[in-house]
Symmetry: C2
Subunit: 189 residues, 2 copies
DNA sequence: CGATCAAAGTTAACAGCGCAAACATACCGG
DNA sequence: CCGGTATGTTTGCGCTGTTAACTTTGATCG
């Protein structure tokens, strides 16, 4: 009965089962309610409260998992220039999860998800520092993150056409190149 | 009884009153439900349905209004370099509205809000073309929009500290300058 | 002026939501 | 074997968006 056997009453590992059910529902674009997640896991509507304080807690767990996945995705991209493409691709492939990761007020300070987000930031900053040793790595990392984050959301919200992944990737590369090449005129502060 | 007199039963101009109530609630950070908006306007819970098909319709109207406001705000910024600062400031001053404007799936194609968003894009593109006559104005406008949009959301979601407006403005300027100065290494595609 | 009709409100009701309290079951250590 | 605790269940509350049926009102027209 190690991890996920259900013996009729006790579930075995409901915590993990809930996470899995919730992830599936996000992936399938279903409405996502606590009750629906519970039902999908084959359990009563209030059973999740034994494992998560409230809906936010479940969402935080999902978000943290999402940040880990995103981190792996970025790490797999390897090359600096492809980071943005990977970031936007992740957002468009798993839009509901991405919205859940961001798009929340998210005021919990000492959370697991906060650490995951910080990890990503550190990772990107290191890559930036390596690629642009002369630049202000901190500022450039912020700008780069904001750029791809903005591209992700604008595609997600239909402000930029997101139909064809290849077209999206091209737009990411093109706009990134354009702003990096923009050089002098009115940039300062 | 011209615009907003209430004669006991008929309201006078409930449509506008609902918009006003909803805007106030967004501004005050209140939970925003259709019922609450109706109550605030001094009207029964289902009265709004005489003027808006559903909650989404009300939200779209609010979003459209928000886009007009944002447009004015950007126009007032005038100088190209201050566009981003104005954009992010707007987002932080009216976070609930900003989330409503974006942050929705928003699949309605022929909407008033779509036009408003397109107007902003056009406006920014024109400014970009004027400031950087040599560049690919389209790509640069996309990148610029994405950059400030990303900065706005990252601040909104607590991924970047948003306490002091002056500090935020400085970060916008600094990161913008940083990415525009980044020039050559790994940009292309 | 009075009848009528549509516009713009009302109440009642439904299903679904997050969540809390009280109760039931089953495993685990004494 | 027995009791306690972790982990389920049922029940119920107040909220949500939305529909249906009813009522009030102001406007139009003979």
């Amino acid at each position: 009965m190690s991890t996920s056997a259900r013996d009729g009453y006790h579930h075995g590992d409901l915590r993990a089962a809930l996470l899995r059910s919730a992830t599936e529902m996000l992936e399938e674009g279903e409405p996502f309610s606590l009750r629906a997640v519970a039902k999908r896991a084959g359990v009563s509507a209030t059973a999740p409260y034994r494992h998560y304080a409230d809906k936010d807690a479940l969402e935080s767990a999902l978000a943290a998992e999402g940040f880990r996945d995103l981190g792996e995705r970025l790490a797999a991209a390897g090359e600096f220039a492809e980071l943005g493409v990977a970031y936007v691709a992740f957002a468009l492939e798993r839009p509901a999860l991405f919205r859940l990761m961001f798009g929340n007020p998210c005021d919990d300070a000492n959370d697991e998800r906060v650490r995951a987000a910080v990890d990503i930031r550190r990772f990107v900053t290191r890559l930036v520092a390596a690629a642009f040793p002369d630049a202000d790595a901190r500022a450039l990392a912020t700008a780069g993150w904001a750029l791809v984050h903005g591209l992700a959301f604008l595609h997600l919200d239909g402000k930029l056409p997101a139909g064809d992944p290849a077209e999206v990737a091209l737009r990411v590369r093109t706009s990134t190149a354009a702003i990096m090449a923009a050089g002098g005129p009115a940039a300062a502060g």
